[in-house]
Amino acid sequence: MTNPYYAKTDIGPPNFWNMLPQVIKDNYGNWLYHEKVKPGVLKHVGETGDELFTVRVGSPRLLSIETLRWFADIADKYCDGHLRFTSRHNVEFLLADGTKVDALVDELEAAGWPVGGTGKSLKNLIHTQGWIHCHSAATDASGTVKAVMDDLYDYFKKDDLPAKLKISMACCLNMCGAVHCSDIAFVGVHRKIPTIDDNGVANGCEIPNVVASCPTGAIRPNPKAKSVTINEEKCMYCGNCYSVCPSLSIMDPENDGIAIFVGGKVSNTRKGPEFSKLVIPFIPNEPPRWDSLVAAIRNLVEIWVKNAKKGERYGEWIERIGWEKFFEVANLPFTDKHIDDFTFSVPTFRTTTQFKFTDKK
């Protein structure tokens, strides 16, 4: 075992340059254009005429070292050892020799690793820890993602959607998946106020921080108990107090579940970045396959596929038809939950008579 006292610190990450394939080093910063070869395969062409092929593989993100080693083997076999991961956690094999692409794809697919996720396809689901590792998860991450991806699998493999489709998940309102700007986002939500373990609070938590952690000012100090009280009318179950103070437990298996938001995006392309908007306030947790969630998302995907114009991302489609039409097309109820009542609510109110009628019967 290494001597702890001599560990080098602050060395920073390995230098990426050493990881790059030769063709990239040769064309670094001088790529000219790219082409889609087929779903999951891109070809980048440099100013020199050099070609770089990328084979994108869908990943559950949670990977064993066994699989990682197998990927390393594949990289050695086809790519002089070069591979990378994407910002949505896919694996990409990088190779200069286009003749090897088909064999590479075949070997990956044969082993159960789907090649796809490029162009106008469903992208890999950004997601978080869930019940596997986080303490504040209101739903599971890997399980819900697996269930949804199994159902939507074909959309990952094809490149013929109206536009790219980015679905993301986060298992609590901390939103580690930063799902709040996704075409479709689902997020674990609580629905009951935290329980207060006064002793725990008194011994383990900084009362001022706990009070400050509450977005709606629902928490007041309870000096008598050296603890806090929570105003039931103001609490909207965000769980932030629990992040700051574990003695304010917010878990509630009966009432925890999932909310769905749609129409967000991040790219500055055409329309600038947009938040996703609430469309389904609650779906119960239904492990192992979360049938209601899967069905809801499939519906949301299908109405877009059916109705959007070529080139329109989810939110761009809705913007064109209007949210009132969206609720009609999606056949979803509109409730008090859908109307913002937080800090920036007023600018979301419809301050014009311009709207479409949807309740004509």
């Binding site: 290494t2 939103m175 800090t343």
Partner: protein
Amino acid sequence: MTEKKRPLLDELKKGKWPSFVTEMEKSAETKPVVNSLLNLLERSFEEKRVHWKHGGIVGVRGYGGGVIGRYCDLPEEYPEIAEFHTIRVNQPSGWFYDSKAIRTLCDVWEKHGSGLTNMHGATGDAILLGTTTPHLQDCFNDLSDAGFDLGGSGSNLRTPSACCGPARCEYACFDTLDLCHNITNSYQDELHRPMWPYKFKIKISGCPNDCTSSIARADLSIIGTWRDSIRVNQEAVAEYVDNGLPIKSAVLDYCPTKCISFDKEKKEMNIDNENCTRCMHCISVMPKALRVGKEKGATLLLGGKATIVQSAFLSWVIKPFIKLDKEDNYAELKEIMEKIWEWWDENAKVRERVGELIYRKGMGEFLKATDLEPVPQMVHHPRTNPYFFWYPEDFAAEKEAKDANKEVAGSEVSE
């Protein structure tokens, strides 16, 4: 190793998408601890609730972050995973690896942990998922010996990340990978020793497509752009059209500023670059014909974050254009960053992100503190309310201007 049945998780081995359960079972073959984790997870599936809790802070010597301590709330029943911390390993810029680096990571993690990973975490780190306190320091030592370092956690600079940029993308307007590497190395102290009011994230995208989602996910978003003209290859334009691209409906109609015109006769595309907002759409649809400009740099945006506390913010423009020079070691950018940190560190409450602080204090104060110039590019539109402030320096400037005017007027009269 108990041979417990896991009917719920077994369901998730079915289906075409690669299964995380299968991954875990692969590990479980050699790592009993993962079997325990699977059993706990099955229980979570049954009970519909998580079985983890916060606990004492753990870490490695000299660092205040990089490790997330995690404890099972049923330690008696699941003693193997009573402690199950994760280690955040700082990824190489752009997540580029070679097989050797991958195998190194695997070897270290086989020795010290569960064998489970997340490649990668949402911030960008390679996540080593699950080990015990005694292993932490040793694991770090081995990582460090092998050339890996830890990423951020806690109230510090979080691991910066970057899109593949110039390595694999013709749109890159600067060297995202070098910048990410440079920043990460320049601010190792800020990364490893939490001493700020809260976390600070940096994400770097080589062009406005923003493939790292920086505007949504980073306090500081560094996004490539250009300030001259889109380069048009008219022959390639004609080729696209000849090959059936419906240029009007697919390109012109989607241009947000409607600044493209197309000459049907000549099959030529004309861009009014003065009015182009560099949204990338036309370039993305016709990458063979159109290229980003030549006078490249980046736009800086600040304030992005997720939901908690003030609701989610998107980053907003604080500097429309900055040159990113390798030569001077990104000095201008670093100066700006450091001024931001200084102001934020001095003024923020505990757990207040920089965007929230600006919301509370106002852009005016922020701009003054950071010497950034107010420009209309910072806002969708100017304020609608008349609630603005006047400062002594405003009145002083006014007086000066007036006096100067008077003097001029006076001298005219006296002449």
